[in-house]
Structure formats: C-alpha cells, structure tokens
Amino acid sequence: MKRLVLFLVLTALVLGVFAALTWWVDPLGEVWKPAAYAAARHDGCLLSEELVGNRYYSFKLAVFHARPTRTFVVGSSRVLKIASHPGERTFANLGYPGTAPSTLLSLFRALPATPVQTVYLGVEAFWFNRRYAIPDTNPSGYHVLEYLLSRSAFWTSYQQFRLLPYVRPPHRWRIATVGRRCTIARGYPAINWNPDGSRVWSWELDPKKYPKFHGTPFSAGLALWRNGYYDDWHGLDHARLAQLGQTLALARARHWHVVGFAPPEPAPLEHRLDTDPRLAPEWHAFLRLMPRLFARYRDEWIGLAVRCPASDFPDEFHSDAACSDRLRARLDEAARQLH
C-alpha cells in the first residue's frame, strides 16, 4: 500500500510541478493573470498584450468590473482605438480580436444586468461569412488543464524560466518603458492595453524602436487580404445573425441603449466592398439588413457614419486614434438621442 501511495503521490507531485511552472511562465498566454492588470492600474501603466495572451474575454470582463462602467464599446479589433475621454472613468472598451456574435452573446450574459448600460456595438460584415473561423478567446478549464500538463509547454516554460530573469519569482513580469509610458510586460511589448481596455500600439509611443504594422494589400487576393475573413463569402450566416439578434434582445430586456455601427473603412477599400463582384452582394445585403435588425429591438444603427481619410488606417484595416475619436463623438451623439 505504501508503494502504491508513493507512486500516486509522486506522479501527482511531478505533474503539479510541471503545471505550476507552466502556469507561472505561461509561454503561450493561455492563463489569465488578473494581478498583471491590477499592477498596471496600480502603477498607472499600460498592460502588454503578452500578459493577456489568448484570454481577451477574461481581460475585458476584468476591465468592466474594475471601472464604474456605464458605457462600453464591443466589437472586433477594429473598435479597439475607441477610448475614454480624458478623465472619464465610466467608459470601457470591451472589444477584442476574434469577437463574433456568439462571443458577444456570452459576454453580455456574463455582464450584470444593472446598472443600465449604453452599448456601442461595432458589427463587422465578415462575421456573417460562414468561412470566418472564430478563434477561442475564452478557453475552457479543461483546455487550460491540458495546456498546464503539456510537456511541450513545460519545456518552453523551463527554457524561458532559465533565460529570462523577469519571469523568475518573485517577479512574473517587468515594467518596461515604451516612449514615455510604462507598460507591464514580458519581452517585447508591441501591443498594449489602456486600463479602459482600449489598445495602444507601441509604434505610436516609440516609432523608432517599434515598427508599424502593414496589412496585406487587397491585390494579394481574398484568401490573404484581412486574414481571409472575406474569402469565399456566399450569403449571410443565419445562425450568426440569430445570435446577434439574441444579443440585442438580451440588451433590450435589460433596458440597455444600443447604438450599432460598422467600423470605418478606408475609402479605397470601401469602394472595393461596394463594387467587387465577390464582395458587393454580401456587403450590400449586410448594410441593408443591419438597420432593420437594430430597429426590431428599438436600437439605433448609424452604419458607416464616420468617414476617415486613408491615412487614418495605418494597416489599411484598423483606424487610428484620430478616426476613432471622431467615431466616439458620433456614437455619443447617437446615444444622447436614444436617451
């Protein structure tokens, strides 16, 4: 019996050590680290994307709860530059890359029904392309357990633990400087998050050290352009439309005020969406359907209400702060009319 117990205990112990090290180092960003976000808020720093990893969903929930949120924006990575006004504490940006109608529904269900919220909902046309694969931004406990017990993750963790002093206890991260801002980071903080959940590219703060991103041009073909989100697009996916409807219904049941919008497009690419025979039918169907859908739930749809010059899109996909500020002003105006 003693040797049986020894076998079981030792096995559990070794696996526990593997899991603990992987949990601590988390080389693939599968573990949500609330303390990193708390440290960023405490020190008035940004939070590097490296410490959020694939846990956008948990991060954005934490952003919501860390603030007296009354207004929030949701949507894809293209709404992430919509930020609070100076000194505004009641605004949160709950958008994240990989958002889709199904993730919106989960997020809305996880948020408290009260106090009443004003929601700015950025809807992407490509969400309704069946080919758009929704990444897992809220991994299950089982998935995380698999990761923690995985030998390859352990080995990577061990190598990082050995080489990088800032992942060794008592530290789990370091305070890095990007331009004139500090960020809670690991190795290379190329993307950072403000405490309100909006995003800051490091090249905005220190263009010499951090290179700008470049998108794949439209001429490369739909399979490559914008990660292939618009490729092989035939019709609007009914299941995803129904999920968006459920999300709006839930918001209506909670008496939330929702303003829907399509994230701004650079003029040349809006022209492509309007005229390219592979895209135009679905794009126009999307633009026709959204006002009707939002009206059904007595919500406001402002569509592509803000036009920004092409220079406001550093990678021809995501709008910059200037464009997003104009969009925020337009959303605030629409929300005032709703109230």
Binding site: R3, L4, F7, V14, L145, L149, R151, S152
Partner: protein
C-alpha cells in the same frame, strides 16, 4: 476514448476504478464496468455502442441455443447463422467501401459511367473502431460452445462484460471467453499490490507509446511521405523505424490493456513477446499479436485442414489464413499483400524444416528481422507506387543518401530495448522496490504530460 488522453487518465480511469471498488455487490460492479465501457465506446461516436450491443446479442443468443440444442444439423445451422450475423456487421462496415469501390471501378472500366452517388454512399460508411476485435471474440465464443470446449454463458451480464470490457475493447488483445469466464464469477477485493502492479505496467506502456512510438512516428512519417527521395540508409532506417514504431505502439496498447484489467482484478492474455528476437517467421507469429495468430490458427487454419492434408494443402491453408489475416487488418490490397507475403514466409519455413535446413539462431534472428522489415513496407505504404519506391530505395536505386540523425538515434534506442530487455509485461513490477516505483512514477508523469501531442494507436484503425 484513447488510453493516451487526459480524459481517460485523469477522469475516466480514476472514477471507474474508485467506483468499482466502492460498490459492494459483484453484479453491480459488472454492471458498472459495462456501463463505463459503453460510455468509453460512445466517446468515439454515439451510435457505436448500439452496434456492439447488437453483435453481443447475436453471439450470446446463438451461444445459448447451441448450448441447449442437441440436433447436430440444427447446431451447425445455428452456428453458421450466428457467425454470418456478426460477420455481416463487420463486412458491411469494414469491407463494403473496399469491395464496392473496386466493383464500381470495374463497371466504370466497361461502361464509362462513374456512379457518383454510389461512391458518395460508400465513402460515407464509417468504420466503428474495435469492431474487428469484438467480432472475432464473439465468433470464438460461439465456435467454442459449438465444439463443446466451453459451457454456454447463461448470464447476459457476464457475457456483456466479456465483450465490452474497455481495456480490450478497442484494440485487443482478442480474449477468449474461456479465459475470462472463471474470473467473472468471483468478486475481486481491492488489492494494493495488484493495483500498484497494474499502474506500473500502465505507466510503462504509456511511456512506450508516447515517448518511443510517437517519437519514431514523427520521423518515420516525415521520411516515408516522400519514399522516392530516400537513399539506401534513409530507406532502411525508415522501414526499421516503422517496424519499431508499430511494435511499440501496439505492444504498448496491449501492455496498457493488461495493466488496466489487472487493476480491476482481471488477467488478460499477453499479446507480444519481443517478436523481433524470433529466429524464424513461425516463431515470429508465436510472439507477434499472439491472440490474433492463435485465433487464426484455431478458427481458420485448423478448420481448413491445417497440416493434416499434405504439404501442398498446408501451403494453401497458410496462404489463405494469412491473406485473410492481412485483410482483417484493413480493407486494402496492401494488407492482403502483406498477409500473403507472411503466408509465403511461413510456407517456406515449413518446407525448409522438412528438408532439414535451419540457420544458427543468431543468423536466423537477423534473417527473420530483415524479412519482417521488408514485409512492413507492404503494410505501411498504401500504393503500389510508394511500395515500389521504398523498395527501390532499400535496394540502393536512389543512392546511399545521408544518415537521418534523429531517426537513427531512435532506432538505436529501440533496438537496445528490444534486444536487451524482456517484454514489459514480463518485468516483475509487482516486486519492484521503492526506488524503481519512484522512478516509474516520474516516467509516468513525463508520459502523461506528453499525451497532449500523442497520436492515436495504429491498431485503432483495424
């Protein structure tokens, strides 16, 4: 569910084992394990258990009828109906697409019509894992009852346990009811030594699978993806690597099956005994997948006449038995070719023996190992073109080529284990001291942490 998966190791096995020993009544325990086994099977696809239940019902009912019936003619008809019943399921799910595909190709050749709907239907037939194994178990039960070497089972619970018991359900060993029946009549009390012994063997099996077989698979798959580019050294190392990979993969599964059954107080028959140490093809088949080779011997080769009807007929019987054995592995002509190849080797061995020819044992081991390795090419490569390309490489048609370092290292380690140590189920794990138990626990933890990237067992396909 795979033995080499987190759901099995972390949840299913501990839960079933704890519940098994917590339940006081023997029949409730049987029921518990049957329920768990059906759940284990349903994990692959929800409708698989219905198929297994159907096959179980056929063989159990026929067994009861054979046990009661005294009229020889009726007994023969009953046995034939029973075998046809369970074989029909196997034939439909495993061989319809194979036979239908060739039939459609033939018709296409004559009529130039392609029958896309029929082909679509054939491609849609899913092979339920484990069906080849429990079909053979059902047949052996019915035949044994018919022959009078086994009493027909009256208790459907015990019989359902025999067919569905999850350790041997998916990939064997092919258990005869005569081995399991006496073990199912008594309650097994918790025995820490036996459970420890089972866990240690399971740990060794898992390590063999995820560290050796999967490690070999990574390199073997890489090289064999382009057999036409392999030089002499690469081609031989790839073929040897596959020989070790399939051996470690399948023997690991068998070790784990034995180990799991042992945890529940049941001893299953062993399946492998370092087959690459065999000095002849005959000996190889007495050490490789033994529960299949003895099944083929007892239920196919001997009924066909075995060696009782002259040398020529024996050759034919061997070829037929091994060809069917090859076909059992998979509905594909390369498996038939592999079976026929081994039939020829076995027939050749018998002829050599009759003429008094024999090799010194070390030379016999080398020759047998090389012949078996050449046979694995037929088993592994699915097309005639790929088989030809690999053989061409092995015989130097593509030059000497470089040495694939990682694969060579794996082959050296595998050879040392195979030729230096006995088969793992023979290791006296029950008597191991604290240091060996502790070392195995560490090995087990490393193996468990490797299942995340582990491959399914090769024999799951069969």
């Amino acid at each position: 569910m795979l033995f080499n998966s987190f759901p099995f190791i972390l949840f299913f096995l501990p839960a079933v084992a704890v519940a098994y020993f917590a339940v006081p009544q023997h029949r409730l325990r049987l029921l518990l394990v049957i329920g768990a086994s059906y759940y284990f099977y349903a994990y692959a696809d929800w409708w698989f258990p219905a198929l297994m239940a159907g096959s179980t019902a056929i063989s159990f009912t026929v067994g009861r009828l054979l046990g009661q019936e005294t009229n020889e003619r009726r007994r023969k008809v009953g046995l034939a109906v029973g075998i046809a019943g369970v074989l029909a399921l196997l034939a439909y799910f495993k061989y319809t697409a194979f036979a239908g595909g060739y039939a459609l190709d033939f018709v296409h050749l004559i009529t130039r019509r392609s029958f896309p709907d029929a082909r679509h239907f054939l491609h849609g037939i899913v092979l339920p894992i484990g069906i080849s194994f429990y079909t053979f178990e059902g047949i052996s039960y019915m035949v044994d009852v018919y022959r009078g070497t086994l009493q027909a089972e009256r208790d459907p619970l015990r019989y359902a346990f025999f067919i569905s018991f999850f350790p041997h359900l998916i990939a064997g060993p092919i258990v005869r009811y005569g081995i399991l029946q006496p073990q199912l009549t008594q309650k097994h009390h918790f025995d820490a030594d036996r459970v420890r012994s089972g866990l240690l063997l399971f740990a060794l099996g898992l390590a063999k699978k995820v560290l050796l077989a999967d490690g070999l698979a990574r390199w073997v798959d890489h090289y064999l993806a382009t057999p036409g580019q392999l030089g002499l050294v690469n081609a031989w190392l790839s073929a040897l690597g596959f020989g070790f990979q399939i051996y470690f993969d399948f023997s690991a599964y068998s070790d784990m099956a034995l180990a799991l059954a042992r945890i529940f107080g049941i001893e299953l028959p062993w399946n492998f005994d370092r087959p690459y140490r065999s000095a002849s093809p005959t000996e190889f088949w007495r050490r490789w997948h033994v529960t299949l080779s003895t099944w083929l011997r007892d239920y196919l080769y001997i009924p066909l006449g075995g060696n009782r009807k002259g040398a020529g007929r024996q050759d034919l019987n061997l070829l037929a038995t091994m060809a069917l054995g090859g076909l059992w592995h998979g509905a594909s002509l390369n498996f038939v070719a592999w079976g026929v190849y081994h039939g020829v080797l076995l027939a050749g061995t018998h002829h050599a023996r009759r003429r008094g020819l024999s090799l010194p044992r070390p030379l016999g081991v080398i020759v047998t190992f090389v012949l078996v390795t050449l046979g694995w090419v037929l088993f592994r490569m699915r097309s005639a073109h790929a088989i030809g390309a690999l053989y061409a490489g092995m015989f130097g048609a593509h030059g000497i080529g470089g040495v694939p370092g990682h694969l060579a290292l794996y082959v050296v380690v595998a050879s040392a284990l195979v030729f230096g140590l006995p088969e793992e189920w023979r290791w006296p794990v029950g008597r191991w001291n604290t240091a060996l138990v502790a070392a195995t626990a560490v090995l087990f933890a490393v193996a468990v942490s490797s299942v995340y990237t582990s491959h399914p067992f090769i024999y799951f396909r069969f």
